[in-house]
């Protein structure tokens, strides 16, 4: 399978106070195949953002080499093939959402008609049309995140580098974003996303990188990292005696009962029921 990102002994060290050196990223080796959604997890200061900035060509590594779509990250040709969505507020916050996307489209070299058509598509898809001509600085955090994603998707990039893409989004917003990312991956794009939203990462990512203090502590598919070999069976309509007999049957077949607990609905189902407007299909 073709490689989207590869790194050999990639390291970043920042100069600290009084001449001390702070290793933001300790030498790491990395290989990410195209078309995968990969989550980067780790506590604050673990090097997630630094890794994304290096791959986006915004931070020069102090050691090792990285290749993004078989080119050095600083290669200007990657400007259109790789999208980077940093954490935090958007620039040019006195523009409206359509103006902002028009600027991004122009910088990506898209023809105006193409840029406007794609912008309209993503404004609708990411539920931003209602913002109209309002300045970005008046947007909620969630709206800014969605607009940032729209900007990242405008050039139909082959690689998306996303820093906290669902941070500050409401559950509907998160659901839309995750759906969009799945679609992009299905279309062949690679997604590398740093996140603290563990449930979302678990739901969407094919692979996970776990960073701590700039060191890659673990990596692998979710099955590799989380798999226990256990499987669950959900039953309904049995009383305590019925459950006990079912457990006995399982043990008789050589299995082991690990837990018996009542099944709840997800909180999201409840949120959807109350927060979606009447008539909305999401209810």
């Amino acid at each position: 399978m073709a490689t989207a990102i590869s790194a050999r002994q990639l390291a970043v060290t920042f100069a600290g106070r009084r001449g001390t050196a702070v290793a933001a990223l300790q030498p790491l080796d990395l290989e990410i195949a195209r078309g995968r959604i990969v989550g980067v997890l780790g506590p604050n200061g673990s090097g997630k953002t630094t890794l994304l900035r290096v791959l986006a060509g915004l931070q020069a590594p102090t050691g090792g080499v990285a290749l993004v779509l078989d080119r050095p990250p600083t290669d200007r040709a990657l400007r259109t093939r790789v999208a980077f969505q940093p954490e935090g507020p958007l620039p040019l916050d006195v523009l409206s959402a359509p103006e902002y996307l028009a600027w991004v489209g122009a910088e990506l070299g898209l023809p105006n008609a193409t840029s406007d058509a794609r912008a309209g598509l993503w404004l609708d898809r990411l539920d931003l049309r209602s913002a109209g001509r309002r300045w970005i600085r008046t947007f909620s955090t969630g709206m800014q995140r969605r607009l940032a994603l729209a900007a990242a998707l405008l050039g139909e990039p082959e690689l998306l580098l996303l820093d906290e893409p669902t941070n500050g989004l409401d559950p509907f917003g998160s659901e839309i974003v995750m759906q969009v990312l799945r679609e992009r991956a299905a279309a062949g794009a690679t997604v590398l996303m740093a996140s603290h939203q563990l449930l979302e990462v678990e739901e969407i990512c094919d692979e996970v990188l776990l960073l701590q203090d700039g060191v890659l502590r673990a990596r692998g598919t979710l099955a590799e990292l989380l798999g226990t070999g256990a499987q669950s069976l959900v039953v309904q309509g049995l009383d305590a005696d019925g459950l006990r007999r079912l457990g006995d049957a399982a043990r008789g077949l050589g299995g082991e009962v690990l837990a018996v607990e009542p099944r709840r609905r997800h909180l999201f189902a409840l949120f959807r029921r109350f927060a979606a407007p009447p008539g909305d299909s999401r209810r």
Binding site: R79, P91, W103, E107, A148
Partner: protein, 344 residues
């Protein structure tokens, strides 16, 4: 009809600067027209001097320049450290200045749009004449002293009919008893009857009318007196006989007044490589203030020349803008190199 959407940094900044500065500039212009009348003390019998209104014309010009500069520096994220979305802009934007150069041009164009009416129609309201005349400073001879020992100084005027000559020498201490020195004007070797000026101290300015003919050699001849006179560059200025349209003069002045703003924004960009927005704004404001109100740079001379009907393009006034242009260009290159170094 809808205007095409602004997409690049130049047009985006232009629109934002125009929006931010238009109303305050208009209000400052109105204040500049009303305040001189409200505050003036009438002096019966004295004619009003057009140049006296220059501070009131400079007020809206300064407001327009300051607001355009502040808006541009605040709008474009790469002007300062720690601005939201710097990474996005740095990654997307092309060119050596990553859009900051285009943003500066956008701000300057907005300033031009705002100041052009002020310096054409507005200047007339402040008493500027309807036409302008070319003024040329004559290059002095190597020894520009006019004394009894060196009784003649020769100058080469431009090859066009002249209307008058302005003399404004420096005076040295008198040799012996104080007697003001008289100077006779000669054109192509011939004495010009009645063209005699008397100087007793420095910076006395005397205008001598000339026949509207082309002159190849203009000489100053010592007649008598005990005050040695020095005629360095700027001390002898000839006024051309023809007149130029004042509207073009205003346009030239508006272009020249962009240079202080360019220099201010360029140094703000340089400072922004290592400083946050408040510092960047301070640098821009201080430099703009120094170059306009402070009198360093072309702003004061340009406005004064315009109101007095002196053609500013190209002239000595025009060349006063060159240091601002040169310093600004160096600052832009420095800012670019500093940012490049920071990325490594």
């Amino acid at each position: 009809m809808t205007l095409p959407r602004a997409r690049g940094p130049l047009r985006l900044t232009f629109v934002r600067c125009l929006r931010a500065a238009a109303l305050p500039t208009l209000l400052a212009a109105l204040a500049g027209l009303w305040l001189p009348h409200a505050l003036a003390t009438p002096l019966p019998g004295l004619p009003s001097a057009a140049g006296a209104a220059s501070p009131w014309l400079q007020l809206p010009l300064f407001v327009a320049a300051a607001l355009c500069a502040a808006r541009a520096a605040g709008f474009w994220p790469l002007f300062a450290l720690r601005r939201p979305g710097r990474d996005v802009v740095a990654r997307l934007q092309r060119g050596p200045w990553r859009g900051a150069g285009a943003a500066i041009v956008g701000a300057l164009l907005a300033q031009l749009v705002l100041t052009l009416p002020l310096l054409t129609f507005g200047a007339r309201l402040h008493g500027a004449p309807a036409t302008a005349a070319r003024h040329d400073e004559l290059a002095p001879p190597p020894q520009p002293a006019l004394t009894a020992a060196t009784p003649r100084l020769a100058f080469t005027p431009p090859a066009r009919p002249l209307a008058s000559v302005w003399l404004c020498p420096l005076a040295a201490p008198p040799v012996g008893a104080f007697v003001p020195t008289r100077v006779q004007l000669r054109l192509d070797g011939a004495v010009l009857p009645g063209a005699v000026a008397t100087f007793g101290q420095s910076f006395e300015a005397v205008e001598l009318p000339l026949p509207a003919v082309t002159v190849q050699r203009l000489e100053l001849e010592y007649v008598d007196g005990s005050v040695p006179l020095l005629f360095p560059r700027g001390a002898v200025r000839v006024v051309a006989a023809g007149s130029e349209p004042q509207a073009w003069n205003g346009a030239a002045a508006a272009v020249l007044l962009l240079l202080p703003t360019f220099a201010a924004l360029a140094f703000a960009y340089l400072a922004g490589a290592v400083a946050a927005l408040p510092t960047v704004w301070t640098v821009a404001a201080v430099l703009l203030f120094v170059q306009t109100v402070g009198g360093i740079g072309p702003a004061g001379d340009v406005v004064l020349a315009l109101l007095r009907g002196r053609w500013v393009w190209p002239s000595g006034t025009f060349w006063h803008g060159v240091p601002s242009l040169a310093a600004g260009s160096v600052a832009m290159i420095g800012g670019m190199l500093l940012r490049r170094g920071a990325r490594r």
